[in-house]
Assembly symmetry: C2
Homo-oligomer: 325 residues x 2
């Protein structure tokens, strides 16, 4: 076990995923209760909502109310997604939110062109605009993320070489603006990663940038989510995004496909069984997952929520053994 | 990719799992159709049914009819489970069945005692009885399997040292009867394995017995199934049991827990994406998984069946590109 990190950090994204992708209307009070339940599990980072155009994402119309209504836990860092100036200003209006600027890297030019109507040069200009806005508003910019890093439904397989080139350009972009790129997130947005690809990408990035913190954002759309996370752990990654209950898409409901992030409770259970500390109370997390299933109105994909954890089996066994004396 | 095996073999157990564990009555004709559909996927080994007491496993009452009604595919090896003399004789009554004797190893003494009412000595005697019966009937005995090799809900964690000791005793047992143990299967019957444990077990067994073929029988009850399979592939394992659709328990139905084997189509998809050949036509397998879901009357857990395969996305993309000329 000694090759694995001793402690990893979970960035919980379930609330934001659920509020934006679930087809049902979730009451503001329930949104608040879900975030509060997660706050009590030992999770230290919760992405609560998105400040985006409610005409495009109706589930986010009450983002400000959700943030205003929250009873917070001191140790938890709360964040929100934002994509433009208006969103950033809304995020800054919530005094306790952790607000960061993140440079977004799109190795899929087809996605950039077809879905965002941008050339690579346009996109670079947007990133420059975002950096300048953040500097003006005193918002730190230390992170970048690679969207669809391993493959893209619009472009197909993504070459590691292309990702490395874009990361090198991103380092230059940071430097040009007097900034330092401290953390790079690899997002398997459309679930093209394999554990082998995760290993190769992380190896190449670590070789090129030994001081760069690497983070993984994995989806379980094709069942390889935890295998990919395991490959990340083997490579020493200590930061993982995940969603309670695998929120963000459910293959068992009437969705066209399963888009969900890796499921926090299954991932945390795997970490604990590997002897890796997460600081999370797994039983409390499972309670939060059950509440999440209740408010979205369908079963979620968490396996340990359905089957129970191994530590629970061990506990029951010891209780029984003690009772038999 | 070069560290992985170039080709692995899937032992499909879905039919037997479904017929024994699904709460609905599956028509004999549908059982036959499922096995026939699987026969046309390129899968070379199908465990079709169990010859067991139909009072205990009612879904197996038509085992002989299923085997008699099957239109077979030449290249496929069909097998069935049997647990006692009567079952063995029923299996031998089906002329085309591959019938093998398998020594069963139970590192969980608690399970042996509580569920089978046997001491380790009783169990050894049963194995000797089975070996002698097989020799008498000309049935080859070359395999052994370790049940709940990584942990047991009745006993808790299992020590690798105990497994190694029992395997050594099994080698002796084979030798005493003039037999050779050629293949050892590690079964994670109750889903206690982690990828780390799989790596350690396989490493220790390979060190001790370099010529022994190792096989994995994994469950996905707590979501680690494919991560465990990946660890097996990393260790060069080339034989894997799995169930189409993850049959053998569904966490999303009203079952108490998710007991299913790893899902064949998700596992095969992972192998193909890792560049490992399985000889299986994944789209045909997905069709069989859809049919399986139909006859058991609830959605199954296959992720690629819900989301589609990456090769399908690649095909659609090329077709589109070709069409644009």
């Amino acid at each position: 076990m000694s090759d694995f990190p001793k402690h990893i950090t979970v960035y919980e994204e379930g609330p934001r995923e659920a509020f934006q992708s679930e087809p049902v209307v979730i009451q503001t009070a329930d949104k608040i209760r879900l975030i509060e339940a997660l706050s009590r599990t030992g999770v230290r980072h919760i992405q609560c909502t998105s400040f985006v155009d409610p005409r495009r994402v109706p589930g986010m119309a009450d983002a400000a109310e959700v943030m205003a209504g929250l009873t917070r836990v001191e140790a938890v860092e709360y964040s929100a997604l934002w994509m433009n100036t208006r969103g950033l200003q809304q995020a800054l209006n919530v005094p306790y939110l952790k607000v960061d600027g993140k440079v977004r890297i799109y190795p899929s030019q087809t996605f950039l062109r077809q879905n965002m109507g941008r050339t690579p040069a346009d996109h670079r200009a947007k990133n420059v605009e975002m950096i300048e806005l953040c500097k003006e508003l005193g918002v730190p910019v230390t992170q970048a993320s690679v969207a669809s890093a391993f493959g893209c439904n619009f472009q197909g397989d993504i070459e590691l070489g292309d990702v490395l080139r874009l990361v090198a350009e991103t380092f230059e972009l940071f430097q040009e603006h007097g900034l330092r790129l401290e953390e790079l997130s690899l997002a398997d947005t459309m679930a093209w990663a394999t554990p082998d690809a995760v290993t190769r990408y992380l190896g190449a990035l670590r070789d090129a940038y030994p001081d760069l913190n690497l983070r993984l954002h994995l989806h379980d759309t094709r069942g390889m989510g935890l295998a990919n996370a395991y490959a990340g752990l083997q490579m020493g990654v200590i930061k993982f995004d995940s969603s309670v209950g695998g929120l963000g898409g459910c293959p068992f409901a009437n969705h066209k496909s399963a888009a969900g992030n890796i499921c926090t409770e299954d991932f945390v259970h795997m970490c604990h069984e590997l002897g890796i500390n997460t600081g999370i109370d797994l039983e409390a997390l499972i309670d939060a997952a059950r509440f999440a299933a209740e408010i979205v109105g369908h079963p979620l994909s968490g396996r340990v929520t359905a089957a129970g954890t191994l530590s629970e089996v061990r506990r029951r066994k010891s209780a029984k053994a003690a009772g038999s004396w």
